[in-house]
Symmetry: C2
Subunit: 361 residues, 2 copies
């Protein structure tokens, strides 16, 4: 930990998710490091403390983790066995390997969600064109997915015949087949879960994918019936809890004529949550940083947020000295709110924080 | 400039203003550097590119400026003659030395404002207890101010007698006397001005100082009559324009029974504008970064902002490659706004930005 009592959070991966997390860490007063593959990566350009190395190298990961209080991830490409080795060597890995494996193995994810009673598209592992043909029950097209390593539409094929399936199988990648779902639209439910199990849900959003890439997000999803919105949020909170997710979980869903189906999971900040920087009081990046650490580290925040979730805290990362400005708090009201009550809320929060700091907690 | 066409902005000074500017630069896609006196300064903890050196050393400043497209400031303590040397050596200094000198020399500032017809407290330079006694016209207390180098209430003395004045004069600091203003409250008017002269005003705020330090800010100032608010904003815009300020200008004001009086100027992000991070679409730190550069650098932003000031742009700092995600835009509506029109605004902005990027402008 740093001299200010704030944790050192390390993020493996130097993409734009890590970049936006770096911006969030500044306001939270957390010390932030990234493990990037090069100095020109999006987050490496703006983060104070950049380690250059590979997420696929255990020595690089171990060296990086040695200078962090907790590590978390910008993507899901770190091999599970490395995550387990880091965890057993004493590194705080958030989310933990037991949760993250479900983002790396789509077959395990689908199987586990089905066990939990979560609605998912029909699926089966396949290793031959005959397997695929049997799976279709005569109904083409069918979706083939790489069990591991796909992202942004890569590793997903819609095939219309046994011959097309054979062509995909010839790549030698472990595959699963999935029914082709004629969905109305795609939705995403994002939730944050703390290390001690508290959960919070963002409004459910509509996402528009173009060529497998998220092009547009509308929050909240227009015209989504309240019961479906609640079902999606409850589903996401239940999945987060059942899989032991710490930090952010994004659940990508199909809205279909037979209800909601879970498509993908991401246990990190997600495309579908970028709107929260500008449209929510606490962004997904802040939630991820707050969720990814031990509960005792953020005592002061937790105190203030429990007392008044509408207060925005900004820390300057400074060591405590008498009379020194260490941060500020903001309360934003709406037209017509009494100014006195807004000011009282800000004063109460500042007093909590100052007391915490003065007593050296 | 960087490969993405975004400028390298250097801020002299590593305090919390630079820290919050670093966070703003991340979203704007600007490359940000700070010149800090030590690695433990607030901004040095979170900025990727930190130079260690002194703002009072011309060699340190020149070395720092050589790696920046434009330099700006977290405080007003860089000697004017160094700023002039940097500018004549070709460094883009924003705000320029001709403007900044008014934040470093309170006597010059008061004199210039009086010439401009701006209401200020009665003042005069003093060098003896007799000067002070003559200035008071028999009415104590009177305020003595260090002409240079004061901040946060330091360098300001309220004296009640010639003996007290003599004690302050004995410090050997160049002083001016100022009438003691029995103000109702303190206000601040913050404006941003671009290099080509466009200006924008934030709502006028009420500030509460305790022991010379800004303790509370209420935006907008409660109960401020509309005509006074407009007068304060117009005053600030006029001062920014007359003094040639680029970037942020904060004008600290006294609200008195005889109207508004200008107390202090700051040509940088300011305590009284921290609320804009959470309470305004574009924060004072973003405005300062946008204002501090040549107009042609931010063509894309200017285009989008002119077309729709309600769009929030986030760049990831990545080099352009076909199919690569380079950023995102957000439009936040209010309850009842038609979703289609919000989406159209976001699409239009994204299209402008993409077009600009694709054509390599």
């Amino acid at each position: 930990m740093t001299g200010t009592g704030m944790p050192i959070v390390g993020m493996v991966g130097g993409g734009q998710l890590a970049r936006m997390t770096a911006a969030a860490a500044i306001g939270l007063g957390a010390t932030f490091r990234v493990l990037a593959t090069s100095n020109s990566e999006s987050a490496a350009l703006v983060t104070h403390d950049v380690a250059i190395g590979s997420h696929a190298s255990l020595p690089d990961l171990s060296k990086f983790a040695a200078h962090c209080d907790v590590i978390t991830f910008d993507h899901e490409h770190v091999p599970t066995e490395y995550l387990e080795e880091l965890a057993s060597a004493g590194t705080l890995v958030r989310p933990g390997p037991a949760a993250l494996r479900y983002t790396q193995d789509k077959l395990a994810m689908r199987t586990r969600l089905e066990e939990l009673g979560v609605p998912v598209p029909r699926f089966a592992p396949v290793s031959s064109a005959a397997d695929v043909t049997e799976f279709t029950q005569g109904k083409w097209p069918v979706v083939l997915k790489a069990i591991s390593g796909g992202y942004d539409g890569k590793g997903v094929w819609v095939v219309h015949s046994a011959a097309e399936a054979a062509e995909v199988l010839s790549h030698g990648v472990a595959l699963m087949a999935e029914e082709f779902v004629p969905f109305r639209r795609e939705l995403a439910a994002q939730v944050a879960r703390s290390a001690c199990g508290q959960g919070a849900a963002y409004p459910v959003v509509e996402t528009v994918q173009v060529d497998g890439i998220c092009r547009e997000v509308i929050a909240p999803a227009p015209g989504l019936p309240a019961d479906l919105a609640i079902e999606a949020q409850e589903l996401a909170l239940r999945i987060a809890s059942s899989l032991g997710v710490t930090g952010l979980l994004a659940v990508e869903l199909f809205e279909t004529s037979r209800g909601l189906l879970v498509n993908e999971l991401a246990m990190r900040p997600h495309n579908s949550g970028h709107w929260t920087i500008d449209g929510a009081l606490t962004s997904q990046f802040e939630q991820h940083l707050l969720g990814g650490t031990d509960p005792d580290i953020y005592d002061r925040y937790i105190h203030v947020m429990a007392a008044d979730p509408g207060v925005k805290v900004h820390f300057y990362g400074k060591e405590v000295r008498p009379g020194r400005k260490l941060g500020h708090v903001t309360v934003v009201g709406r037209p017509g709110d009494p100014v006195d009550s807004l000011r009282d809320r800000a004063r109460r929060a500042a007093s909590y924080l100052r007391w915490g700091i003065e007593d050296g907690n």
